[in-house]
Each structure stands twice: as C-alpha cells, then as structure tokens.
C-alpha cells in the first residue's frame, strides 16, 4: 500500500518545514524585500517581504499532489478508491486513527455472532417504532391509562416511543460481561441456555399482558356503571366526544391557543386631552411639512406615511371585518372583541350566517321604524324574528366605535337615507374593468346610493385582499373622474351628485396618490394640448367647459396648492393662467367662467400668498367691461381684453333703475355653460352680481398682496379704474361699500421701501488641516460616482486580477507538466541505456565463456 510511506513523509515534512521556516526567514538570501516608493503612515502592506523560494516549493508540492496525480492517471479507466478509515483526514492523530481502525475491525468480526443470538432477535421497526409494540398497543386503549403511566419511563415505553433501541441494548455492559464470563462454556450449552431463557421470558410477558387486559376490561365495566351517575351534567359533551373520539381535549386546547387571538398589548387608555394633543401634534406636523414644501426646500422627503382614516368608514367597515382577523384591543375606552373568535370552531360557520342576518335585520328594522320608502329587501326572507333588541343596540355601538374621529357627523336625515340605501344595495361589487361597466354600475341610482356603491366596491376590493385589487382600484379613480366630468357636461350639470362623490375621490386619492396624480396630469395635458392647438390655429381660445373647471377645483381639493412646486397643482395653475390670458371674454357665460377661474386662482395662491399677475389683469379687464365710457382711460388693459371694441361693454348696465331692485346672490356654476336671462332686468341683475363678485375677489386680492413691495404698482390701474371710471354711484349700496373697502385697502399699501441690496455673503471658512478621508477601495483610484458604478468597477477589477492569476497558474501548470514529461523521458532513456549495457555485458560474458570453452576445448585437443 502507498498510504503509509507517504503519510510518514508528510509528518516528517511538517516537522522539517516548521523547523526550516524560521531559518529561511532569517536567511537573507531567501528573503526578497519589495521596496516601496512612498512611506504611507498607517498602511499595512501584506507583500513587503516575500519568500520566493518557499512559495515556489510550495507551489511545486501542490502540483505534485494534484496535477501530477491527474497526469499519471490520465487515460486510465480503473482507479483505486481508498476506503481506509481516516486515511486522508489530516486532523486525526495517527494513534487515534489506528485505534479506530482496530475497533472497526473488531465490530465487523463481532457482528457475525448475531446469527446465533436467538434471544436478541432483530426487532422490526417502522419509523423507529417497534412493529410488535404497535400491534400490542392497538389492542389496548392506552389513552385511558395514560394518566396513570405519566411520569414513568419504562424501557418498553421508551422503546415504543423513541424508536427501536435494539442496538443500544445489545451494547449494555452487563451483556458484554456475560459474554466474557461464560466464554468458558461450550457453544452448544450456551445456545441451549439462551433458548430456554428466551422462551421463558416470552411466556411470562404474555401471561402478564393477559392479566392486565382482563383487569382493564373489568375496570371499564365498573366505570360505566358509575358513569351513569356522574353523567348528568355534561351529557352533550360526552356525546360530542363519542361522535368525535379523535378529538382530544388537550389537543384542542393547544390548537385553540395556537390559533386563538392573542391579547395584543394595546396602548394605554388615553384621556381626551391626550387624544386632542396628539391630533394637534399630527396636524402641526403636517402643517410644518406643508410650509416646508411651500418654501421649496428641495430634497424633501415627502413620503409621509398615510395616516389618514377614511372619512366614511361606516359604510365599509363591516364587510372588511369579516375578512380580517380581529385583534383584542382597546378602542375609545371600550373592549373591541370579535365575538366569533371566542366561539368554538365547529360553530363558526353557522354563527357567521347568523351575524349577517342580524345585521340585515337590524337595518331592516330601523328602516321600517323610520318609515322610509325602501324597496322590498331581497334578503328579508333570511330575517329571523328572535333577535333581541339588545343585540341590535350592541351592534350599533360597535359600528359607531369603528367610526374614525375624523369623520364629520352625518346629519340625521342623511343617516336615514344612507341606511335605506344600504338595504337596497347588494353588499359586494366587482370592480368595473372598463368605463362603460363603471357607468352601468352607477347609473340609475341616486347620488347617495352611488356613494355607497363606490364605498362598498372599494371595501370589497381593498388592496390588502388581493394583489390585483390594487391595480383595479387605481383604475377606479380614473373612471370616477371621467364620470364626474360627464356629470358636469350634462345639461343641466349634476353638480350635487359630484359634490357627494368628492369624499370618495378624496379617499381613493389618499389610497393611490401616484395613480390619482397620473390621471389628473393626463387630463391637464390633454386639455392644455387641445387649447394649444386651437391657439395655434386661431390665436385665441374659448373658455374651458364646466368639467375642466370642476377638475381644477378637485385638483385643489386633493393636492396641496401651497407647495413651491407640485407635479399636479403647479401645471393646473399654469393652465388657469393660460386660460385667463388667452381666452377673450365675449359673453356673460365667459364672464362667469372667468370669475370661477379667478376664484380658483385665489384659492390656489391664498395660503402661500403667491403673486398671480394674470388674476389681477383679468379682474381689471372684467371691471373694464363695466366701464361705460372707454374713450379716456388712463390705465391700459392687458390681453385678452381690449381697450374698446366688440363686447367690451358686456357688463354695462342697460338701465340704471335695475340697481335698486338688485340683491346679492351667489352665481350658479351652471351659468358657465348656459345662461338663461329672459329680461333686461334679469341681465342687469346678473351683471351686477358679476361685478359684485369681481369686487369681492379684488378685495381678496388686495388683502393677499398687501405685503408685496410693489403692491401699489400692481393695483395702480385698478385704483384709477375704480376711482375715476367705474359708475359706482349708480350701483347699489352694498357694492359701493365693497368699492370703498378696496380703495382703502389699496391705499393702505406701503409705498416706500428701502432700496434693494444683495444678501450678505457668507464668510468663506479658513482652510483647516483636517485629513481628507478617502474610502479605501480594492482597486486604485476612485472611479465612477454612483454606488452601482463603483461596484461595477470593483467587479471589473477583480475579474481582471483573477484572469491574470488564472493565466499565470495555467502557464505554471504547463511548465510543470513539461518538466515532468522531460523527466519521464530521461528516466526511460536511462533505463534503456542501462538495459542495453546489461545486455551487452551479458553477451560479452557469454561470448567470453564460449571463447574460454573453445579455448579449453582447443587446449584439450
């Protein structure tokens, strides 16, 4: 065998190496020092000293072990597998290795004894459990006497429970001793003895078992006779157990504990003050955010968590709850317990149905009580009359508990309506996939019902209930907006319906801000694009339809208008400004649209008090329409208005008497589309209302912009128009009052300001000798700026390095092999030469001998 000599060599090698290593390191001829160009403080270099000789010999040795072996076994199909124990385990002590091998050898020889060992026959097992035991246990009901046996650890039990211990038993020391003592006996005797012993044991065991079985049966019968007396109290339980004998109480407990709700440590009960304070803090936080964004601090991390609670959770909560596992928690100082959770699993299905019935009947009952004209409920056949009044009330309370604090209280009448609507409508809706589906869903229902349908659709398809729901719900926002637009374009526009839909839009927007902003952006882009096309064709455009006005308003409701830059509201305001500068006012409808847009513009800029020149220009232009004499003006109006021309007297009153009968009214939004004015008086009244609105808006503006440095310049044309040209004396008193207020507000503006100067520069900091900290990279200079780029660079570098290393190794390998081959050839040649020499030698001796013989013959003769 090869193993032993090589191993010996290894050991000696090690010893020698350990000895020589220090010698080599001290030997100046072996050491190569890599000179460094620059000393760098604190840098530890790995490769400043090298031992080329050592590393070369190491490499050669390694090759000998691997490459050479491979080379030798090349083209050889057979191979030796060394199965000696621990042959290649370098961690093992040689002595230990020998010991182990010896014991293994012994075991192998001992195993053969089993053939005759009748007593210790192999036990058949299944999953580590003795088959015999299993058979036995099947007969005996062991669950009954388990309690008795608890705590006892018999060999049998352990064997049955923890798998066959056959091997273990065999190796107990007693047995071994036995073997050792009786070795003196003859084999025959020993066998006989064993047979007898085993048979005896078997018999004993059998009798014992029979006895115990008889006893247990007797005990059972006894128990049954007593059981009748005890049984009264828990008959159903016993029945149940009989029905399902498999269910163990303990198991059930465990399972229940496992699946049961756990009391989550809830936050401590808060006092109303605390709650109020928290709410205040939350709002302050949000407000601070808003201010920060308004000032345009870029680098904002506006991913604020959506802590919003739906404004009308009452509608959807009960559907959601069934799907979601409820937790035991405190809420608003009341236990919020899911009743179903406490009940036993078996009853759950029935209970579910019941609770649903309860709710329906509850609503039904209320509904009837209020006497509303609800349609016949399709579910009323499920109604059960036994529900107690108390339960109803409990449920009501529950529902109220689920209402978030943010929810505005619905008026009683609305509540009634909502309840009535709930009864009529189904509880689950599929999310419409197309707009026509969506319209089909909502059509034919009154506004309140539409809200409920939407709320339920949203609740049934809450994104937490399915992955696809999210995408579908995102689409819902788009459909809803389109629907709103359609409602607005109907004649007359159904604005009250839109009004009802606003909370839904808001909630959807809160759920999917990105999708919502995308939809609104698309609308804005389309509208702006179409207006641009008209502008390019004609040079002027018409005022947008009511639906666009509504969209602009909705934008302001859904997104903050005060941000320095906002992806939706900034373009929306630009759109408004575009309309206000490009759309000429040709009719009273246009005046109304313009006023709506002015209102919107004021709302957009009111919080941040930003300056919107188009707004002031437009208001000036509108008032200019009310000036009767346009010839001598000392102000100039800005396009789209003209100093004079067609429809420039749009707001001039036709008769002065009409101002006496005028009273202030709000303008209808539908007037932006179609205005029905039957008489001159009505038209005059409308004109007065428009002028009044205009003046009110100007008042707003003047207060908004009173802080601006060039306030007086901004309002200069307006002042001159108001004070000199507007026929204010013919207007009603209310208007005159507003007029006076505006003039007063404008005159209050500060006219003198300190001259402008640059901001003070920050002083340039002195240069300091702080070290520049540079990240240490495993490749030379820092290249690339982003993390990904650097990582790529690193990998490239590593790859290059590895490739080079691999190439070098391959080269060395080939060199090594070539050397080996050469050696081989030389060896072979030497051998041949030797053999040839030998042959020659032998031939020579032969020849010599033959000659000697010949000579001798000759000499004989």
């Amino acid at each position: 065998m090869m193993g032993k000599p090589s191993k010996k060599k290894n050991i000696s090698d090690k010893v020698r190496k350990a000895k020589t290593c220090t010698e080599i390191k001290n030997n100046p001829f072996e050491v190569k020092i890599n000179r460094t160009k620059f000393e760098i403080l604190g840098r530890k270099t790995k490769n400043d000293v090298g031992l080329p000789g050592v590393s070369r010999s190491k490499a050669i040795n390694k090759r000998k072990e691997t490459l050479l072996k491979e080379y030798k076994t090349k083209d050889k199909a057979n191979k030796f597998i060394d199965k000696r124990f621990g042959e290649y385990d370098t961690t093992m002590d040689p002595e230990e290795k020998i010991l182990q091998r010896f014991s293994l050898e012994r075991l192998r020889t001992q195993d053969k004894k089993d053939m005759y060992n009748l007593n210790e026959e192999e036990e058949l097992t299944h999953y580590g459990q003795s088959l015999a035991e299993i058979e036995k246990l099947n007969d005996v009901v062991d669950s009954d006497d388990e309690t008795d046996e608890k705590g006892l650890l018999s060999a049998e039990l352990t064997a049955s429970h923890f798998g066959g211990g056959g091997l273990l038993k065999r190796k107990t020391p007693g047995e071994k001793d036995d073997g050792g003592n009786q070795r003196a006996k003859s084999r025959q005797e020993l066998i006989e003895e064993l047979i007898i012993k085993s048979k005896q044991e078997k018999r004993e065991r059998q009798s014992l078992k029979e006895e115990s079985q008889v006893l247990t049966e007797k005990l059972d019968q006894d128990w049954k006779s007593i059981h009748g007396l005890l049984a009264h109290k828990n008959t159903p339980k016993a029945d149940q157990e009989e029905d399902r004998p498999k269910l163990d109480e303990y198991d059930m407990m465990v399972r229940e504990l496992g699946f049961d709700m756990k009391a989550v440590p809830s936050e401590k009960l808060k006092t109303p003050e605390e709650i109020a304070r928290e709410e205040k803090e939350r709002l302050q936080q949000l407000e601070a955010d808003r201010l920060r964004r308004m000032l345009g601090d870029v680098g904002e991390d506006c991913n604020k968590a959506q802590t919003h609670v739906s404004a009308d959770d009452i509608n959807d909560g009960f559907i959601l709850d069934k799907e979601e596992r409820k937790t035991l928690s405190y809420h608003n100082a009341k236990w919020n317990i899911n009743e179903e959770g406490a009940k036993i699993d078996g009853e759950e299905t029935g209970d579910d149905g019941e609770s649903e019935d309860e709710e329906e009947s509850n609503e039904e009952g209320e509904d009837e009580g209020e006497g509303s004209e609800a349609e016949e409920d399709s579910h009323s056949d499920l109604e059960s009359e036994e529900e107690s009044e108390e339960e109803n009330e409990d449920e009501k309370e529950d529902e109220k508990d689920e209402e978030p604090a943010a929810k505005p209280p619905l008026s009683d009448a609305e509540n009634v309506l909502a309840e009535a609507a709930k009864v009529e409508l189904p509880y689950t809706f599929k999310i419409p996939e197309t707009y026509s589906d969506f319209k089909g869903l909502l059509q034919g229902h009154p506004a309140d019902h539409q809200c409920i349908i939407l709320a339920r659709t949203r609740a049934c398809n809450h994104p937490s209930l399915g992955i696809l729901n999210k995408v579908k719900l995102q689409k819902l926002f788009g459909f809803l907006l389109e629907y709103v637009g359609e409602l607005a374009t109907r004649s007359p526009p159904e604005l009250s319906t839109i009004d009802k839909l606003i909370p839904q839009l808001y909630d959807l927007c809160q759920l999917f801000p990105d999708a919502a902003s995308m939809v609104l952006q698309t609308i804005l882009r389309d509208k702006a694009n179409s207006m641009e096309q008209v502008l390019e064709e004609k040079g002027r455009a018409t005022f947008p339809q009511l639906d666009m006005l509504i969209y602009l308003k909705i934008t302001a409701l859904l997104f903050p208008t005060s941000d320095f830059r906002h992806p939706v509201t900034t373009p929306a305001l630009l759109y408004i400004s575009q309309v206000l500068t490009k759309c000429p006012v040709t009719s009273l409808e246009d005046v109304t649209s313009g006023l709506v847009l002015c209102c919107l513009a004021i709302e957009y800029v009111s919080f941040s008090k930003r300056f919107c020149p188009e707004l002031v220009n437009f208001l000036l232009g509108l008032l200019h329409l009310a000036v009767p004499d346009k010839t001598s003006t000392d102000y100039s109006v800005v396009p789209p208005f003209r100093q004079s021309g067609k429809s420039s007297g749009l707001l001039v009153l036709s008769s002065l008497e009409s101002s006496q009968t005028w009273s202030k009214k709000t303008l209808p939004l539908s007037a932006t589309q179609k205005l029905k004015l039957t008489s001159d008086l009505e038209a005059d009244h409308y004109r007065l209302s428009a002028v009044a609105t205009c003046l009110e808006l100007l008042k707003c503006c003047s207060s908004l912009y009173s802080e601006l440095p060039s306030c007086s310049q901004i309002f200069q044309p307006i002042t001159s128009l108001l004070s000199k040209h507007l026929p204010i004396t013919t207007y009603p008193a209310a208007l005159q009052e507003v007029h006076g207020e505006i003039l007063a507000a404008i005159s209050m503006c500060q006219t003198s300001h300190p001259p402008l100067v640059f901001e003070k520069k920050k002083p340039i900091p002195l240069k300091l000798f702080t070290p520049k900290i540079v990240q240490v990279l495993d490749y030379g200079k820092k290249r690339g700026c982003s993390k990904a780029e650097r990582e790529e660079e690193r990998l490239k570098h590593k790859y290059k390095k590895e490739l080079k290393g691999a190439l070098r190794e391959v080269r060395k390998d080939t060199r090594f092999l070539a050397r080996e081959k050469l050696n081989e050839v030389m060896g072979r040649d030497l051998e041949r030469k030797r053999k040839v020499k030998q042959l020659y030698g032998s031939l020579a001796t032969q020849e010599g001998e033959w000659r000697a013989l010949k000579r001798r013959k000759n000499s004989r003769h």
């Binding site: 606003i502 952006q521 709000t666 060039s710 300001h753 001259p755 402008l756």
Partner: protein, 532 residues
C-alpha cells in the same frame, strides 16, 4: 354656317354619350383637325367643351386644345403678325392658306380667352390645368413667335399672354392663393419672373388708381401672395433657366440681367406698398420684409418711408417694423433719430402677450447689446421692463427676467438698481415715472427693482427662482435667452407635468367633503358660486 349645325349635333351627342365618349370624341376630333384642314370646323366643338358643365370633359377639352394648338404652333400654321377682324376674313383678299391660318389664329385667341375665364372656375383642378395649358402655349409661342421679330427687337416673348395671365391671377374678386402657388413653379424661370414683375407693377398701379385710396383687400392679398412668392436670384450666374430659349445674344436682354431684375422687383414692391394697406397686410409684409425683400432691392433706403410710417403705427406693427429698420440702420447707414426713445415707448403691457414676442425680444437684445449706451437709457429700459413684468404671463417672465439680468450684467453701472447699499436705511417711494415718455427724464436710475422682489413671490417656481437671481451678486456670465424666446405656457405645463415623476406626490391632508369646500386656507369659490 355648317359649323353651327355641326355644333348642335355634337352637343346632342355629348349629352347622350358618357364621359368616356366625350373624351374619345375630343381626342378623335383633335386628331382629325391636325390631320387635315377639311375638319377645321371641328375646332368649334372642342372649344364648346371648354364651357361644359362637367369637370372631366372640361379637363379633356383643355388637354385637347393644348395638344391641338401646340401642334399648330409648331407647324407654324397660325397666322403671324397683326390680325384683322374676323369679319374681315371673308372680305379680304387672301389665299386659302392664309385664310386657314387666320381662322385658326382667331380660334387660338378665343381658346386663350376661354382658358383665362376658366381661372375663375370653382374647381382647382380645372384652374390648374388651364394655367398649365396657357404656360405651355406661352413657351410654344416663345419658340414660334406670333409676331414679327423685327417689331420687338429680336427678343421673342409672349408678353401679351403672360400679361393676361398675371391680370387674371391678380383678381380683385377671388383669392387666387392656390393657383399662385402653382404659378410659383414658372416664377423660377428668369424671363417669366421678370415680365411678371413688370406686369404686376402696371396692374397694381392701374387697379389702385381706380380704387382711389380705398382698400381692395382681395386684390392686395393676391398681389402680396404673388409678390412674396417671387424668389429672387442671388447673383448673375444663377440666371440660367428660361422659358423661352433665345437664339440671339442675351447681353442686351433685360430679363437676363440681375440688376434689371432687382430694379423691377423694387419698383413692383414700392408700387405695391405705396397704397394704403389693411392692418393684417402690414404685418405680413413686415414679417417677410427683412429677409426676402430688403436684400434684393437695389436701393433699400427707399423702403425707409414705408418702415418709419409702419414704426409710427404702434403696437404689433411697430414691433415688426423694428426688424426692417434694424437692417437699414445696421447695413445701410440709416440715421434714425430718437430710435431708442421710440423703442422705449414701444414697451407696453401687450408686448408680453403678442405673437411677435420672441422676435421683439431678439431684436431688443440686439439693440441693447451695445455697451456704449448711456446708463440712464439702459436703466430706463430695465425699470420699464420690470414694471411691465408685473402684468406678464409666466412664459414671458421666464424670458424677461434673464433679459433684465443680462442688461444689468452688460452695464455694471446699472447695478445700483438691485444693489444700493448707500441708502439702505432710507425707505422711499418709487421715484420712477412710468408715464414719462423720455427715458432720460424718467428717473429710473434712482429707483430699485422692487418689482423683481415682488416676482420672487410669483406662483410659478421657475419664475420665482429666476427672480431670486437679484438677491446675490450677478454672475459675470450672461444667461442665454435664445432658447427661452419661443417658450410657451403650454410647454411650461408640459415640462412641469414631466418633472418629479418618480417622487411620491404630496397630498392634501384636510379631508375633502364637498366640492365647494375651501382649499388652501380660504373659501372663495363657495362664497360666490352655488351648485346649480
């Protein structure tokens, strides 16, 4: 006559037969006429078709006529020289050949007349083919002149024909723009262009004299379209393409000289501009004036009167006149007194709203690019522009704010407008006089640009940022405003929509419950409007 009988018969035929039949009919008749003189009277039938109701037959007839008379011209079968009256034909003493050629010449003349009448046909296709046919005649006539060459000094050109065509193109009743753009193809030929311009001059003069100072919008529009379609050659060597190849030497021919072309071009434009123009026409002329008219006029200074008059009109027209004036001042040494004063007075709020905003600011940038301008003047411009910026739309603001900053950079002494540390503690009212016409008197240099400070609160973030520039010392590098000249509000909307697509959108935290609920602090819409 036999001819009239035949005509009746053939017209019956044409009614009975289909369109195909008429085409075949025309073709066969043209063939017959060409083949022999016997069928000469068939020419009446062909001409009859020209007045047909059906479009296809008219086109067919035009093609037929074209083919017929071109062949006849080539054969020199038409009478050359002064033509007598048709009635005289029978009376006069002529040979049969002569009679035939005179007869055909008469038919040719009536055919040309009919074709000219077709110019006012409602179908463009017919107009176009009529024009093409006429131009074909013109080129054939040029080759085989119908007049004695001696009378017209060796250079043959169908003057009368072209004059008639131009006269028709300058119709006072109908907008001929499509046909004129077709005619442009022929205007590439040097001789046609030359004679067209000559005839335009005469035509405009006669028509406008008749109008006696009144506007003739359609006529003037046609004249403008025709004139503006003329592409003048740049140098003498470009004159290579002619409708009529002249055998004689070209040297003496006016149509072959660039100088003459320029002279005629100048005369025709001046003749056109001499009369009162509608407002829109003014704008159109001024838009093309500086790059397609002025370079080709031999003495551009003659345009001065027109330009100064336009400059005094005010508004957009003045803005446009600036361009032409600039060319005159810059290249032709025009001395224009009070130019900057007028420019200053051109600055009106509407400057930011008109279509020609980009052009105006481009020019204003050029005019004010000189560093030798007095400080008071630049300060006046800066102050006025910033005052006007208070009424400007955001797209204009994005242009005018860097413009103002550039002016201050160019004239560092204007820096006091944004940096006056000497009087820091004395608050004062704005001394600038907006209504003062003279930039020297307006006290702009004593003022500060509070307007820009106001605009720092502008609602659009880019505008606000641009206005913030003045808070710090301006960088010496000028901003390039050339890419901002054309920016429109729509582009700004689009740009804003594309920005920040990957960042989470901030949301309103006040829950919305009603449509008219106030947003951003105050309730405005709800106060003034109701849901009805």
């Amino acid at each position: 006559m036999a001819a009239s009988k035949r005509r009746n018969v053939s017209s019956k035929n044409s009614k009975e037969g289909g369109l195909k039949a008429t085409e075949v009919d025309i073709d066969s008749k043209v063939e017959l006429i060409i083949q022999s003189r016997k069928h000469a009277n068939d020419v009446f039938d062909v001409l009859e078709y020209l007045q047909s109701e059906k479009q296809k037959s008219v086109v067919g007839a035009i093609n037929g006529c074209c083919k017929l008379f071109c062949t006849l011209l080539e054969r020199k079968a038409l009478y050359v020289g002064q033509l007598g009256k048709e009635e005289m034909l029978l009376v006069g003493d002529h040979s049969a050949d002569e009679k035939y050629s005179m007869f055909m010449r008469h038919r040719y003349n009536s055919c040309v007349e009919l074709l000219l009448e077709l110019f006012s046909h409602e179908s463009y296709q017919i107009k176009e083919s009529a024009l093409c046919a006429l131009m074909k005649f013109a080129s054939m006539e040029g080759k085989f002149p119908l007049q004695d060459l001696d009378c017209i000094k060796l250079y043959s050109f169908p003057r009368e024909l072209i004059q008639a065509v131009v006269g028709k193109l300058l119709s006072p009743e109908e907008d001929m723009a499509p046909l004129i753009s077709r005619y442009q193809e022929y205007l590439d030929m040097e001789d046609v262009r030359y004679y067209t311009m000559t005839f335009i001059t005469g035509n405009v003069a006669s028509v406008m004299e008749k109008a006696k100072g009144a506007l003739r919008p359609i006529f003037q529009n046609n004249a403008f379209t025709l004139l503006s379609n003329i592409n003048m050659p740049k140098c003498q060597t470009d004159l290579t393409k002619y409708l009529v190849k002249q055998e004689a030497d070209l040297e003496d021919w006016k149509a072959a000289k660039l100088k003459e072309h320029q002279r005629v071009f100048e005369r025709s434009w001046l003749g056109f501009l001499k009369y009162k123009l509608p407002g829109s026409m003014y704008k159109k002329v001024l838009v093309i004036l500086h790059d397609s008219i002025l370079p080709h006029i031999s003495t551009p200074t003659l345009m001065m009167d027109f330009l100064t008059a336009a400059y005094d009109v005010g508004g957009a027209i003045s803005l446009l006149a600036l361009n032409g004036l600039f060319v005159l001042i810059h290249q032709h040494n025009l001395d224009y007194p009070d130019f900057y004063k007028k420019l200053y007075n051109l600055l009106e709020p509407s400057v930011f709203h008109v279509k020609y905003r980009a052009r105006f600011f481009h020019l204003a940038n050029l005019f004010l690019s000189s560093t030798h301008l007095p400080v008071y003047l630049v300060a006046a411009f800066v102050k006025r522009l910033s005052r006007l910026a208070l009424t400007a739309p955001p797209a204009s603001l994005l242009l005018v704010l860097p413009f103002i900053c550039n002016l201050i950079r160019r004239h560092p002494s204007c820096c006091v407008l944004i940096h006056r540390p000497s009087a820091l503690d004395q608050a004062c009212a704005d001394p600038y006089l907006m209504d003062e016409q003279d930039p020297a008197q307006c006290k702009a240099i004593e003022s500060s640009l509070w307007e820009l400070q106001t605009l720092q609160k502008h609602y659009h973030p880019d505008v606000a940022k641009a206005a913030m520039e003045i808070n710090k010392a301006l960088s010496p590098q000028e901003d390039d405003i050339s890419d901002r000249l054309e920016i429109s509000t729509y582009e700004m909307i689009d740009r804003d929509l594309k920005k920040n697509q990957f960042r989470a959108v901030p949301l309103e935290f006040d829950p919305a419950t009603q449509l008219l609920q106030g947003s951003g602090g105050i309730r405005v819409l709800g106060l003034h409007f109701s849901l009805q």
